[in-house]
């Protein structure tokens, strides 16, 4: 029972990060192979605050999320300009993730490659669920507002978006910052759940898993990636699949999805929409 609870908690923590990436990739249309670094910033920042400075948990959590948001500016400001080539950004954030790992491994306060053990386990399932619900709520609000609509416009057609008054740079940057915030929140929760964090937990491997969940779940959807990320954590646990084979599967899945169903499970729609359509279809009969 404890085991199941812990798997579900971990899945829920992961869902917050996937939600974050979903804003950036699924709704703004920018692909990132480096969002695990933002999870890492949140994890380390909040862990350092509670471990060394005895900062209250919730404060540390929020601080970690804001730290991740701030760090995202480092990569965002130079690379998200108007004449963006998505390949340049992808490579830049790839390099960013790498550089972040190296920095983590070489700072005193992060205890280097050995990692930070002994973090207080403040995170419980109810807390994570509240955080998840909150994240989903503000994401939905964001997407309905002028800011989210601007992101979606950029995804659909950047040129037409500009002609509708959308500022490309500031919108992309906001999207990145918000997505980093949620990833940082996820990281903080994770650090205080696993009680131990290491640089190697926040690399390209994890970034790819986040991206795989967003793509498999479907771009332009909130419920899709949430569902996919839940599946990605729970299924391998249930099937007792070793870590590296999971990654083999993720890799293969990305290729197959691109070829056979690029819109993923729930591309551009939400779970409730499916039910609505079923009801209306049976109604018109």
């Amino acid at each position: 029972m404890d085991y199941i609870l812990s798997v579900v908690t971990l899945a829920a923590i992961n869902m917050i990060a996937v939600l974050g990436l979903s804003i950036f990739t699924g709704f703004t249309g920018l692909f990132s192979f480096g969002h695990a670094a933002f999870v890492g910033v949140g994890a380390y920042a909040s862990a350092i605050l509670t471990y060394y400075y005895y900062v209250p948990f919730f404060v540390a959590l929020v601080a970690g999320a804001f730290a991740a948001a701030a760090v995202s500016l480092i990569i965002g400001v130079p690379t998200l300009r108007a004449k963006l080539r998505s390949d340049y950004f992808a490579i830049a954030i790839l390099g960013f993730g790498e550089a972040f790992r190296v920095i983590l491994e070489n700072l005193e306060i992060t205890n280097g490659a050995r990692g930070l053990p002994g973090i207080d386990s403040f995170t419980t399932l109810p807390i994570v669920l509240v955080a998840l619900a909150f994240s989903v709520w503000i994401t939905r609000n964001f997407l309905k507002s002028r800011y989210g609509v601007a992101c979606i416009a950029i995804r659909e057609d950047p040129v037409a978006a500009e002609m509708s008054g959308v500022g490309l740079f500031r919108t992309r940057l906001l999207s990145l910052v918000l997505s980093a915030f949620l990833c940082g929140l996820s990281g903080g929760l994770m650090a205080h759940f696993l009680s131990f964090i290491q640089p190697v937990m926040f690399t390209l491997v994890q970034s790819t898993q986040l991206l795989a969940a967003v793509i498999a779940g479907g771009m332009g959807s909130i419920t899709g990636p949430l569902f996919a990320s839940f599946l990605f954590i729970v299924l391998p646990e249930a099937l007792r699949v070793a870590n590296m084979w999971r990654l083999v599967a993720y890799g293969l899945m990305l290729v197959l999805i691109m070829i056979y169903r690029p819109q993923g499970i729930m591309g551009y729609q939400e779970l409730p929409d499916l039910f609505r359509r079923k009801i209306s279809r049976s109604g018109t009969k």
Binding site: P78, A92, G95
Partner: protein, 290 residues
């Protein structure tokens, strides 16, 4: 000391250039980032290792074997993961994701099957050093630099003098028009990937000989992408120059500042360059037709 650092930097830069060229070549022709390139380099290293250790072949044959093997691997990669998307005229981002998927797949397949052990090549180059203007250069580094230089020169000749090479350059400009002119586009793309794979094979072997062979060599091969971006995506001279610059800068940072912060520095160089020259050194600034 300065000259020694420069020379060492140029030799590793040569390897980076080899890695970057294959990636930039595919980008220039097909317009997407083939992130599986790193995995092909890694597999090229393993292939070379197998040839050297199991069949006891010399460095020359190992290189040839790796070139052929990696070339075939790259073509298979294209056929399985990209050709369907290409024919469907899928956006380049889809191809990039597919490439990343391939990379993760291959890297972890090796990890799961062959294992994470680090392997070393047999001693191909004796520990001799060549004295060069007061600094010493290991035979390996010299060989790497020479091979890199010759290979890229050969590519340049191929691309400018041969029929296929010219067709490739035409394809860079407009693939559709190319096919309308009677070029067999599928065959052309196959040639492009063969070339990219060949370069990957050579780079992989040299990387393996210089350092070690292990599944996550991808972390080093990311330098290929950074070098290509520095030089300007899609530009072959850019890939060469980008690789050399990256190698030299890294070695200088390693020697004079800190060897540990080397990768952080590479990344900072990349960002700084993108801020000032958004298209890299030799990249072209194409304004989208609206």
């Amino acid at each position: 000391m300065f000259l020694q650092t420069l020379v060492t930097g140029l030799s590793i830069g040569g390897i980076y250039a080899l890695m970057a060229v294959g990636y930039s070549l595919v980008f220039s022709v097909l317009g997407f980032s083939n992130f599986a390139h790193g995995a092909v380099i890694m597999l090229g290293a393993y292939l070379g290792l197998a040839l050297a250790v199991k069949l006891h072949l010399g460095i020359g044959l190992v290189l040839v074997g790796s070139i052929v093997g990696s070339g075939i691997l790259a073509v298979m990669n294209e056929r399985l993961a990209y050709s369907v998307l290409r024919r469907r005229k899928a956006p380049s981002l889809y191809l990039m994701i597919s490439a990343m998927g391939c990379s993760v797949f291959l890297e972890n397949l090796v990890y799961a099957t062959i294992g994470s052990r680090f392997y070393a090549f047999p001693e191909f180059f004796s520990r001799q050093v060549v004295q060069f203007a007061g600094s010493s250069l290991s035979l390996l580094d010299l060989a790497a630099f020479i091979v890199a230089f010759l290979a890229i020169l050969a590519l340049h000749v191929f691309v400018t003098r041969t029929k296929t090479g010219i067709a490739i350059r035409a394809g860079v400009c407009d693939m559709t028009m190319c096919s309308l002119m009677g070029v067999n586009v599928d065959r052309l793309i196959m040639v492009v990937f063969l070339l990219a794979g060949a370069f990957a094979g050579v780079a992989g072997v040299f990387l393996g000989v210089k350092y070690l062979v292990y599944p996550t060599m991808g972390w080093v091969t990311n330098k290929a992408y950074i070098a290509a971006v520095i030089g300007g995506l899609g530009s072959l001279p850019g890939a060469l120059v980008g690789g050399l610059i990256l190698g030299v800068v890294e070695t200088f940072v390693s020697t004079y500042v800190s060897s540990v912060m080397r990768d952080v520095f590479s990344f900072t160089l990349l960002i700084a360059l993108l801020v000032w020259m958004p298209n890299g050194l030799f990249g072209s600034d194409t304004e989208e037709k609206v």
